[in-house]
Symmetry: C2
Subunit: 337 residues, 2 copies
DNA sequence: CTGAAAGCGCTTACAG
DNA sequence: CTGAAAGCGCTTACAG
C-alpha cells in the first residue's frame, strides 16, 4: 500500500500520479514529466524505464493539472453560427466530426459554442476564452463581420474561419472552397452536354457563397457566349426556354424538382439540374442529383491544422486555404439532344 | 503596477487572479473563493465588497485551477454513435445544441466523443474519463449493450442513455419517448380517419425504436380489430389493399412517397401516410408529412438534468424519463371516404 | 464569519 | 542527462 496515493481518491478509485510513477521508476517527478512529452533531453534508457512504470501503474495524465501548469489548454473552441436550426444542414455535424477526429490526431481537444441568438453565442465564446478553456477558435461561419469576430480580432485571439470573410481577407486565416470556380465548373459541365440556355436558381441572394458561385456562373456563361438568367425560387417559380439549371444547394434542388414536375417538366429529359454540397438530400428520391462534393471532411481537417499552425508558429500573415471539390455525376443531368 | 500580476502573463495579457481580487477587496483569497460559490458562510457586506472588486478588475475564474483543486470537472462527455454518417440524421445536431445550452444553464461544460469505429470511440471515451476531463457521460445511442456501456457500468462511471437499453433497464438511467405509445397513436389517428387496412413500413427491423413502435402498432390494430401487415421497404416495394401507412421515419417516407407516386397512388387522396421525427425532411416537398414530433430539445435538456441529478444526488435507483411527443398534422393524412 | 496553510498534479527554469 | 524547488490558481479542512 502506497501512502501518497491515499489522498488521490477520485470517483472512488486511486488516481495514479506522476509521483507514483517516479517512485516506481526510481526517478524524480520532473523526469517523468519530461518523458511524457518525449523530451530529447532524456536518455533512452530512462525513457524505457519510466514508460514501463507508467504502463504498469496505468498512468494517465491529469488534464487540468497539465493545463494549469503549462498555461496551454490544447483545446480549440468550435463556434457554430447563431441560428436556430443548425440541424437542417448536414454540413455542421459532418464538419464537427471531422474537426474532432483531426484534433484527436494532434492531441488537442475541442469545446463547442452554440447559441440561438448572437448575444448568447458571444457570451459563450467570451466565457470559453476568459475561463482559459480554449487557446482560440474555429468559426464555422463567415460572410460579414459581426461582434464576435470583432471581439476575436481586437483581442488578438487566434482563430480561423471556415468560409470566406467579406472584408479583411488578408487579416483572417480562412479555409474555403473556391466558390467562383464551383460556379464556373457547373456551367462547363452543362455546356459540354450541349446546354446553351441556363438559369441559376437560388432562394437567397445574400452571403458570400451565393455571390461567388453566381459570379463564377456569370463569367463562364459570358465567356462561352451562352444565354443566362437568375431565378429567385419562390411559390411563383417557373422556367422558360432554359434547358438546364444550376441550383444553389441540394435542399433547394428537391423543391425545384417538385415544382418542375408540377409544371410538366421531367428531369433530366426536359431539363438538366446540377447542384452543390453532396448531402444526403441528393440521393433520397429520383432523379438522384448531380452535385459538387465540397469535401467537408477536408474543410474540417484543414481548419484544425491551420489553427494549430497559427497558434504555434505565429506567422505574421494570414493565408487562405482552398479545398478542392469534386463533381459527382448522378441522374439529374444529361446531354441535350 | 501590481507585482503579483507580473507573472500572470497569458496570451500577452495580465490574467486577474483570486489574489488580485483579494488584495483589492482587502480580504483573504479563501474568502474570495467562498464568494465565488456564493457560500452562505460569508456576510452580505463582504460579498458585496468582493464582487465589486471582481467586476472592477474583470475577474474570471481559471477553469483548470478550479477543476484541479476541487476534483470536479463540471463537464459532461457526450458520446455519439459509432457510425460514419451522423450528419444525415438532424437528430444529432439538434440534441447536441440542446444539451450544450442546457449544460450552460447549469454552469457545466460539455466535451464530445466521436469515432467512425467502435474501437476509436471507446478510446476517446476512456481518454476523456481517465484524463479527468469529464465527470461522466450522456450516451446518444441505446439498444444492445456494447463494450463502451460495459466499460461505463463496470467502472461505475456515471452516465445516462438517450434511448432505451435492451437489457438492464432498471440499472441504467435513460431518457426516451414512449415508442410503443407512438405506435399506438399513429393507428388511433388513422383509425379515427376511417382507415381499416394499414401497413407498417420500415427499412430496418432492428433496434428498439422499430421494435417498440411496431409493437404498439400491432397492439392497437388488434384492439381495434383492423387489418394490418408489415412491409419491408426495398426496390420491390408496392402496396395492396391498405389505405394508410405508418412509416418508421420521415427520410424513409420520402422514398415511400416517390415509390407510391410511381405506382400511381396519390397521397393522401389514395393512401394516407403518417410518420415520425418531424425533421426538416417532412416539409421539403409536398405532401408535407403528418408526423410525430419527438421533442428532441426536451430529450437533450432532460438528459443533462438527469445526469446532473445522478452525479450529485447519487440515487440508489435508476429511473426512466419519458418525454412526451406531439402529433403534427400536415398534408399526408386525410379521412377515408 | 474569516484567515492561514496545505494541497490538487502537473511544468519548467535553474543548477549541476 | 537528471533532480530539487517553485509555481500555476484555485479549494477546503482547520482554527478561531
Amino acid at each position: 500500500m502506497n501512502f501518497s496515493k491515499e489522498n488521490n481518491i477520485v470517483y472512488g478509485k486511486m488516481a495514479v500520479t506522476i509521483k507514483d510513477v517516479a517512485k516506481k521508476a526510481g526517478v524524480n517527478a520532473s523526469t517523468v514529466s519530461r518523458v511524457i512529452k518525449d523530451s530529447s533531453e532524456i536518455s533512452d534508457k530512462t525513457k524505457t524505464k519510466v514508460r514501463k512504470a507508467m504502463t504498469e501503474l496505468g498512468y494517465t495524465r491529469n488534464a487540468a493539472a497539465q493545463i494549469l501548469a503549462s498555461g496551454k489548454t490544447n483545446t480549440i473552441g468550435v463556434v457554430f453560427p447563431p441560428v436556430v436550426d443548425k440541424s437542417s444542414q448536414p454540413f455542421f455535424m459532418k464538419i464537427l466530426t471531422s474537426i474532432n477526429e483531426t484534433a484527436k490526431k494532434f492531441n488537442v481537444s475541442i469545446a463547442i459554442a452554440t447559441g440561438h441568438t448572437h448575444h448568447e453565442l458571444k457570451k459563450q465564446v467570451r466565457l470559453l476564452y476568459s475561463e482559459r478553456r480554449v487557446d482560440g477558435f474555429i468559426v464555422l461561419y463567415a460572410g460579414k463581420s459581426d461582434s464576435i469576430r470583432e471581439y476575436l480580432m481586437s483581442n488578438k485571439i487566434p482563430f480561423v474561419l471556415v468560409g470566406t470573410p467579406s472584408e479583411q481577407q488578408n487579416e483572417i486565416t480562412h479555409i474555403d472552397n473556391d466558390n467562383k470556380l464551383l460556379g464556373r465548373e457547373a456551367v462547363q459541365h452543362l455546356a459540354k452536354l450541349g446546354h446553351k440556355n441556363i438559369s441559376f436558381v437560388t432562394d437567397t441572394t445574400e452571403g458570400e457563397v451565393f455571390e461567388e458561385r453566381y459570379q463564377g456562373f456569370v463569367e463562364e456563361m459570358s465567356r462561352q457566349g451562352l444565354t443566362r438568367s437568375l431565378v429567385k425560387f419562390d411559390s411563383y417559380f417557373s422556367i422558360g426556354q432554359e434547358t438546364a439549371l444550376v441550383v444553389i444547394d441540394d435542399v433547394l434542388s428537391l423543391k425545384v424538382l417538385e415544382s418542375l414536375l408540377e409544371h410538366g417538366y421531367r428531369v433530366p429529359d426536359d431539363v438538366s439540374l446540377i447542384t452543390y454540397n453532396n448531402s444526403i438530400f441528393g440521393t433520397i428520391i429520383h432523379p438522384f442529383l448531380t452535385t459538387f462534393d465540397i469535401n467537408v471532411a477536408r474543410l474540417g481537417a484543414a481548419s484544425v491544422e491551420k489553427f494549430l499552425n497559427l497558434l504555434n508558429e505565429k506567422p505574421d500573415y494570414h493565408e487562405k486555404t482552398v479545398i478542392p471539390f469534386e463533381l459527382i455525376l448522378r441522374e439529374s443531368t444529361r446531354a441535350r439532344i
